[in-house]
Amino acid sequence: MYDTSKTADGATEQMATKFHCADVQVFYGATHAIKDVNVDIQDKTVTAFIGPSGCGKSTFLRCLNRMNDTIDVARVEGTILLDGEDVYDARVDPVQLRAKVGMVFQKPNPFPKSIYENVAYGPKIHGMARTKGDLDELVERALRRAALWDEVKDRLDATGTGLSGGQQQRLCIARAVATEPEVLLMDEPASALDPIATSQIEELIDELRQNYAVVIVTHSMQQAARVSQKTAFFHLGNLVEYDDTSKIFTNPEDPRTESYITGRIG
């Protein structure tokens, strides 16, 4: 149903479905946090999840790479298929899944190690590099992709936590892309950053779209409008509306979406 996306110039692009989600429910103990969510997330597209605090957007995002497994009381029901494969199948190794579906968090959280080690860690544990040369190449590619290489290439041994907030976040993005994921989940990736660093992250997200499906949770509606091609609006655990971003921000179908994006309900 939602299989087309409008590019900035108005052309309609057909993108393959990356995630197919049907009747997804999430419970935290007795709390029904996500109710009957049906959505198809497209490849090579930035999809934004927006909605007021507590609406379930982060919870839903975390379903996509089974981050909710780490919460004891959380229970996920329904179907989530990544390229047709059930993410919640008992045979799926969550660690392998998270290598394919990378994640970047709100607060930059580099390991207390060198910049190089931060990026090299993932490829190492997944056995992606056989020689030191291979690994160097991988680290450089990831840092370039995260638009950080030029700033850190002369101090790869410096500690990652010594970078500025914006640089740390780009380091986390480099770390996430180092394992060659297919999908990048971003939970408020720029909310702790200043406007310049935010612009750099947004520019980066647009570039990442060439290679990945990107799903971003954001409280900034302007950010959602700027970076995404598709927008999903969540409210009280329901997916209220999912459509082209340009449609959501100019002429949404649902009055709840309209009220939220125009600043009438929180």
Partner: protein, 245 residues
């Protein structure tokens, strides 16, 4: 203005202020149309002068609306219905300003026409036309305030009546000019006035279309009825209508 209030009440006040400016502008423009037509019929030079002077206030309000709209766009980044409010007020302000100019032009021609022999029936017919367009404008602005899409469609449909009135006046003036070439100067001025009013109808139609855009989020798609045939219908050319009338 039936949208529920924003969490930020200052935002509401900003949007209301712009819309209040539009309504004020609309009131001045309605008055200008009626006064211009009245001054023509009653040969009232003072009233015509009042219309000519009054155009400045309308122009100033348009600038004010545009400034306020630009400020809201810059500071609030409006979306959805708020964005449509801002976009529509800018267009409506431009349409009102044009109608104001056309009224001023009527008043200018009135100043000249007062010096000439009157053309019987013409000022009264033009005043009827002006009253019609003023009513359409009033309804278009009411439709805006009440977010009434149906009323806006009604206004758009009524433009055809105005075009019919213009066609009739056009033919009448041709007859007068053929009868006596000394009528030509006055008839030319009167014809321009009729054309001005007909153009006002187009601007009012455009305002009504903005109302539809504001309410529905989409500009009206259907072709609006057009009945002004004077630019291409040879039946309206001199000498072509002997058999008819």
């Amino acid at each position: 203005m039936q949208e529920s209030p924003h969490i930020s009440s200052v935002y509401d006040r900003d949007l209301e202020a712009i819309q209040a400016s539009i309504m004020k502008m609309g009131g001045l423009v309605e008055a200008a149309i009626l006064k211009a037509a009245k001054s023509l019929e009653t040969r009232d030079e003072a009233l015509a002068e009042e219309v000519r002077q009054g155009d400045l206030a309308i122009d100033t309000l348009e600038e004010q609306v545009n400034d306020e709209a630009a400020r809201v766009i810059a500071l609030r980044a409006p979306t959805a219905v708020d964005l449509r409010v801002v976009l529509s007020v800018m267009k409506i302000a431009a349409n009102l300003e044009r109608i104001g100019d056309l009224s001023k032009n009527m008043a200018k021609r009135t100043g000249v026409l007062i010096q000439m022999q009157t053309i019987p029936g013409a000022p009264a017919a033009l005043r009827r036309m002006a009253r019609e367009v003023e009513l359409m404008l009033k309804d278009a602005l009411d439709a805006y305030i009440q977010r009434d899409e149906d009323l806006a469609h009604d206004v758009i449909n009524r433009d055809a009546d105005l075009d019919q009135m213009y066609n009739a006046i056009f033919r009448e003036f041709l007859t007068f000019m053929m009868e006596d070439p000394r009528n030509i100067t006055a008839c030319m001025h009167l014809h321009f006035i009729a054309k001005n009013i007909e153009r006002m109808g187009d601007h009012v139609t455009s305002i009504a279309e903005q109302v539809i855009f504001l309410v529905s989020g989409e500009a009206p798609r259907e072709r609006r009825p057009k009945a002004d045939k004077t630019s291409y219908d040879p039946d309206l050319a001199p000498g072509a209508d002997e058999a008819g009338d």
